[in-house]
């Protein structure tokens, strides 16, 4: 674990793998109740950012957590109980499905079956509220992002980008290869919790009966 400063009220812990990120995130969630001066714990691809309240107490908590972090040994199994399982209905009707199939050397049907047969895990969220970076994508479905990002991708679009799969929570620009559509609402401020996906959530795509 490599600890990097992220401003006077932040620590960026750099880790070797997504599994270690999951484990450290879980360990930090476990101590949050005792550390009220922690403001945010933000897992990402290979890092966990911990931010603290901008106060003298926050600066003290930062020193304390910096000393504690190396002792929070990431468990080999990823640590903690598996997250909740969310099933997202999907139609494999994306505008990039044919191109993805060609890149993978498979038929569109095979891509759909391989994708819907995979259990994903939300590694981290970002880009937009409720956007989860889903890991677990089989290597044969890993494709580069589009050379030309789209200026508008509709809400519910299911995309592939490198090692990740993701669902656009709302209409936005986007560069991922869109293979399908879900009617699930990923982010709804009128709902508690607003975000359907959080770090650790397991995700399966279930093809809608046609």
């Amino acid at each position: 674990m490599n600890l990097l400063a992220a401003g006077p009220f932040g620590i960026l812990a750099e880790l070797a793998s997504a599994a270690e990120v999951r484990a450290l995130d879980a360990a930090l969630q476990g101590i949050r109740a005792d550390e009220p001066d922690i403001e945010d714990v933000v897992p990402a691809a290979r890092t966990v950012l911990v931010t603290f309240r901008q106060s003298a107490a926050g600066a003290k908590a930062r020193s304390r957590i910096a000393a504690l972090l190396p002792t929070l040994r990431p468990a080999a199994d990823g640590g903690g109980a598996p997250g909740p399982l969310v099933e997202l209905p999907i139609r494999y009707d994306g505008p990039d499905l044919a191109e993805v199939a060609e890149l993978c050397g498979r038929s569109a049907r095979e891509v759909a079956e391989r994708h819907s047969g995979t259990e994903f895990t939300v590694a981290f969220c970002g880009f937009a509220p409720g956007f989860g970076y889903l890991t677990g994508l089989p290597e044969e479905l890993q494709v580069p992002r589009r050379a030309e990002p789209r200026t508008s991708v509709p809400a519910g679009a299911v995309g592939l980008g490198g090692e990740y799969c993701g669902v656009y929570p709302r209409s936005s620009p986007g560069g991922w290869q869109i293979i399908g559509t879900t009617d699930a609402v990923l982010f709804d401020i009128a709902r508690t919790p607003a975000a359907l996906l959080a770090p650790g959530t397991r995700v399966r795509f279930r093809e809608a009966d046609t």
Partner: protein, 294 residues
């Protein structure tokens, strides 16, 4: 104001200005869900305006951009304006900037164009009481959370006016001309050679017009990088100086994305961020590198 009946009170937007938003201290604690903190870009001026009218810091104010705004109240309330200095009038009479003033029901409060800085904060006793979204009333322009920017004719509810105004506290430091912001190295200082640090420290960086609540875009010499390696997305803090491939740093403000994929050479101290939030396009920002220890 005790003894008055607690009738619902409102502000009606007479002139929305260029970009006037409702802001408070933001929605911290949800970055792991991709929800930015948001909130007042200049938190110190927001807090000061609130204190002047007897509100807690967490009360929502109006954050204007350069050209001010005008709102009409339908209840007697204390108002105060802080942040970027501007002429202020209530009911057609000039009132002081940076001090509380009483406005009668039916009168209009007008904030003119700023004489320096970018963002003025208009606080009202009781605060702007639009519904909270995810624990905050702040408008997040990047994520589309919170109320829309003010539009002519819009009506904003006010909270119950409780406390008396308080002009006893010391005002925050005024806007510095050519401010020098403290920067602590990291997290990705290792991506940059000594020459990049020298440029960052020595140059007077020009604030570009494309700056907004997400970040201050800076113009100057491109900062060189040691390696061209791509960086996987990682968490971002307010004040982060992110360096995209063109080498021109972007200083993240309140509506910054929760994660980003460009290396952050250093972070501006949060106590210096109000100066960044008030840096007008065309003005200069300088940086002073300070050590960080934990």
């Amino acid at each position: 104001m005790t003894g008055l009946p607690a009738a619902p009170a409102h502000l009606a937007v007479v002139r929305p200005g260029a970009l006037t938003t409702v802001q408070d201290l933001g929605r911290a604690g949800q970055a792991h869900l991709g929800v930015p903190r948001s909130g007042a870009a200049d938190r110190r001026s927001h807090a000061f305006a609130n204190r002047l009218v007897g509100n807690p810091e967490s009360a929502a104010t109006l954050e204007t951009t350069v050209v001010g705004c005008a709102v009409r109240t339908d209840a007697d309330r204390w108002f105060a304006v802080a942040g970027a200095p501007c002429p202020v009038a209530a009911g057609g009479r000039a009132v002081p900037f940076g001090a509380p003033f009483l406005v009668r029901a039916g009168e209009t409060v007008e904030l003119g164009p700023v004489v320096a800085g970018v963002r003025s904060y208009l606080a009202v006793g009781g605060g702007i009481a639009v519904p909270e979204v995810l624990g905050s009333r702040a408008t997040d322009l990047m994520s589309g959370l919170g109320p829309a920017p003010l539009a002519a004719g819009a009506v904003l509810p006010l909270g119950p006016a409780a406390a008396a105004p308080d002009a006893t506290g010391a005002p925050p430091p005024g806007l510095a001309r050519g401010p020098v912001l403290r920067v602590t190295p990291g997290p990705r200082s290792g991506f940059f050679p000594p020459a990049a640090w020298e440029l960052l420290r020595a140059h007077a960086w020009t604030v570009l017009p494309a700056s907004n609540r997400i970040g201050v875009r800076l113009d100057g010499p491109a900062l060189p990088r040691t390696g061209g390696d791509a960086l996987p997305s990682e968490g971002m803090v307010p004040g982060a100086l992110q360096v995209p491939p063109n080498g021109l740093p972007v200083l993240f403000l309140a509506d910054h994305p929760t994660t980003g994929g460009y290396p952050v050479i250093g972070c501006v101290h949060p106590a210096d961020l109000p100066h960044a939030a008030q840096a007008a396009p065309g003005s200069a920002l300088r940086f002073r590198i300070v050590p960080d220890r934990w």
